[in-house]
């Protein structure tokens, strides 16, 4: 399936996939950069939208228009933590009011499929609409479903797919208590190398407009994706080789790999084993020191790979080793969180 348009929001500026510029961020919880939402969304609607909904609608509409499409046949959204801001607000209201009659606004917007539902409402799209919420493979779950839709349903030609996660004060704050967020405050570009547990947690959204057939606007071909819930780090090389062999490919045939190192010394060994092993001679890219970590961040990793295939160049800030490639034809994206929910995505130049 072909990616014909994309848009993303993260803690970095709009053009961060192609620019050399690095925005330094101090602090372990990274907000997404605010975009000119008003260009697309009426102020009256905007006021009622949580950040996840704003980011989701904005990037969804942008990615569609970049592909020349208005209403897709299916909308698939991944979100590991959903609309946390409204969930947190409503939970606190229950406590404060001691379960008295509350206004329903936050509850209405707290459900995990708020973003996919709001996109359908915004675009007036009656088609297939799905929300996957499986930690760090929420986006990969959407890719898998999109692929099956295109294989099995002849009525589906175009699919909008994306992932979005927001932070909220208390709920994200709890992640400091259980070791998901680093105890020491660090500057994001100093995330690697790390010898402490936890990462820096962030907000992001990335959407892709996908079609069954190749079009003149096609930026990348998503050849396949795979989800594996549980892998021991000692098995990671074998699993990558197994995934690539499904497409008759070998690790050395990759022109680059996008790896999800997040500075958590307990779990970065999954990536390091690959970096020192089967991908030792392949150009390796990292991005989480710029964007931070969250359950939707592999969609940003995917956007980075699409951008490399499209522009055939890579800003230095993403390079994790000194290898190079003359041409970028094929890129593997690998990500996991806390040693679980492993996702593999294989992209090729269309």
């Amino acid at each position: 399936m072909y990616i014909n348009g994309m848009s993303n929001i993260s803690a970095q500026p709009d053009d961060f996939l192609t620019s050399a510029e690095i925005i330094d961020i101090q602090g372990n919880i990274l907000s997404a950069v605010v975009r000119p939402y008003r260009e697309l969304i009426k102020p009256m609607l905007l006021r009622r939208m949580s950040k996840a909904v704003k980011m989701g609608i904005y990037t969804a509409v942008k990615s569609l228009s970049r592909s020349g499409l208005e209403c897709p046949d299916a909308i698939l959204v991944g979100t590991g933590q959903g609309c946390m801001q409204d969930t947190e607000k409503f939970m606190q209201q229950i406590e404060e009011s001691k379960e008295q009659l509350l206004t329903p606004t936050s509850f209405i917007q707290s459900t995990h499929n708020t973003v996919s539902g709001q996109i359908a409402l915004f675009l007036k799209c009656n088609g297939y609409n799905m929300t996957y919420t499986q930690n760090s493979v929420s986006f990969e779950s959407c890719l898998l479903d999109a692929q099956m839709q295109l294989e099995l349903d002849e009525d589906i030609q175009n699919v909008l797919i994306g992932a979005v996660d927001e932070t909220s004060e208390k709920f994200t704050g709890f992640q400091k208590l259980d070791g998901q967020i680093k105890a020491e405050t660090i500057l994001n570009k100093e995330l690697f190398p790390s010898s402490s547990p936890g990462s820096i947690i962030s907000e992001s959204a990335a959407f892709f407009s996908i079609s069954r057939e190749k079009t003149p606007r096609s930026l990348a071909n998503c050849v396949g994706s795979k989800i594996i819930n549980e892998i021991q780090s000692s098995e990671i090389e074998e699993k990558v080789v197994e995934f690539l062999s499904e497409f008759d490919l070998k690790p050395e045939q990759m022109d680059a790999v996008v790896l999800g190192n997040n500075g958590d010394h307990r779990f970065d060994d999954y990536y390091q084993i690959l970096q020192q092993g089967i991908f030792n001679n392949i150009l390796q890219l990292n991005y989480k020191s710029l964007t931070g970590e969250n359950n939707s961040i592999s969609a940003i990793g995917c956007a980075l790979a699409v951008s490399v295939l499209q522009h055939q160049k890579i800003p230095k800030k993403f390079r994790a080793n000194s290898k190079s490639a003359s041409k970028f034809r094929r890129i593997l994206i690998y990500n996991q969180y806390l040693g679980r929910n492993h996702g593999f995505i294989l992209l090729e130049r269309p």
């Binding site: 409503f90 939970m91 379960e99 509350l102 995990h112 009656n126 259980d178 819930n229």
Partner: protein, 392 residues
């Protein structure tokens, strides 16, 4: 495209802790509604509560609380254990996928411990429990499922969608065995949420009745084992999945359109995939929550699909309460029971026809049932319709 069959079922709901117990309650018109005892709330709305505490579930399943396990995962493990006849292990877990639906996952623990995480380190395994994927993860760990594990959260259609996605994994030839279904427990969050929308009834719900005044919440876990027809033996087959369709109402975040456009499109898609005409359907297990809005919208959608000859239909939510993310799987099991027993189940508490309304099945009775349609609609305009058929 491979044919998908159901070869196992497991359920725990307010009307019983096994498929057999649920069937008995359905046949005896015996609902599972009560005041909340286990859920700590000031509200007295009737709910479909499973009268087994977390501590009792932990003991029964030989698990400890220190694992940070949610009520939804405990109920899920209990339901799936029934599929595998109490063995607790799968024969082929390396090649089995798991797709689970839930609306709020482990938010029961978040609301219980919200103010305690700071001081009590022992509770911190529950921090991640808030997110739906965690509940699925804990169930997967228990059964040793290591490959494809994912969660769908589309509010009240979550587990119906999980069944549809699981079926697609088999149709496309990716897996030959998938466990699908869903689990949701009662929480203060959802009880107060539905109360804020003023759609909770303070008496047993009356789906499709003129005087219906809201829904009752419930909790349940229900799972099915799906297999490729060509990879299993005939005697294990309970039913076939012949159709599934999802569409979006694109009308309002929580309310359904009056003409039921999303529901209409979902039912149409399911019929198209099943290669069936509307008149082939023998029974509909309706979404039928008992709210003014849903039942009107669903009635109109049914009339648009089935015209003058709407088949026998009922909402079984009067038995179980509305079990949110689990409802689609609970009602999938009831639909298959309807095929097995050649029986349609009562729409409890129905008395008066609504204006231009339809009359549901009022008492359970024998009926020839070859094809059942099961509807599930959720917030965000999410509408799903599944068709289960007798396996010949």
């Amino acid at each position: 495209m491979k044919t998908v069959v159901v070869t196992g079922m497991g359920i725990v709901s307010a009307i019983g802790s096994s498929v057999t117990a649920n069937l008995q309650s359905l046949q005896n018109n015996s609902d599972g509604l009560s005041k909340p005892d286990i859920l700590q709330t000031g509200h007295q709305f009737p709910v479909g509560e499973i009268k087994i505490t977390d501590a009792e579930l932990l003991e029964e399943l030989k698990l400890t609380a220190s694992l940070g396990i949610t009520r939804a995962s405990l109920l899920g493990i209990k339901a799936i254990t029934e599929i595998f006849e109490n063995s607790g292990k799968l024969a082929d877990n390396a090649n089995t996928a798991f797709v689970s639906g839930t609306s709020v996952g482990g938010i029961d623990k978040t609301e219980q411990y919200f103010d305690l995480f700071d001081e009590k380190a022992a509770l911190r395994p529950y921090i991640q429990a808030q997110h739906p994927g965690y509940t699925t993860q804990k169930i997967a760990e228990y059964f040793g499922i290591q490959g494809l594990v994912t969660t769908i959260s589309t509010a009240c259609s979550s587990s119906a969608n999980a069944i549809m996605t699981g079926a697609r994994l088999i149709q496309s030839g990716r897996y030959s065995k998938v466990i699908v279904g869903g689990s949701d427990c009662l929480t203060k969050f959802t009880l107060n949420g539905f109360n804020s929308l003023r759609i909770l009834s303070d008496e047993p719900a009356k789906p499709f009745d003129r005087d219906r005044n809201g829904l009752n919440l419930g909790e349940a876990a229900a799972y099915l084992l799906l297999e490729a027809e060509d990879a299993t033996s005939d005697q294990r087959i309970l039913a076939k999945i012949s159709g599934a369709g999802n569409a979006n109402d694109a009308f309002h975040q929580t309310a359904s359109s009056e003409d039921g456009e999303g529901a209409f499109k979902a039912m149409n898609k399911a019929l198209k995939m099943a290669n069936m005409e509307a008149q082939n359907i023998d029974y509909i297990n309706a979404h039928g929550t008992g709210t003014q809005n849903n039942d009107l919208s669903e009635t109109n959608a049914l009339k648009r699909i089935f015209k003058e000859t709407v088949p026998k239909f009922s909402s079984t939510k009067g038995f179980t309460g509305h079990t949110l993310g689990a409802a689609g799987a609970v009602e999938a099991i009831f639909s298959i029971l309807s095929i097995q027993e050649q029986q349609v189940f009562a729409n409890l508490n129905y008395q008066n026809i609504m204006e231009d309304g339809l009359i549901p099945v009022r008492e359970n009775r024998k009926h020839q049932v070859d094809h059942v349609m099961s509807n599930s609609f959720g917030f965000g305009g999410n509408c799903t319709s599944l068709i289960f058929s007798k396996h010949e």
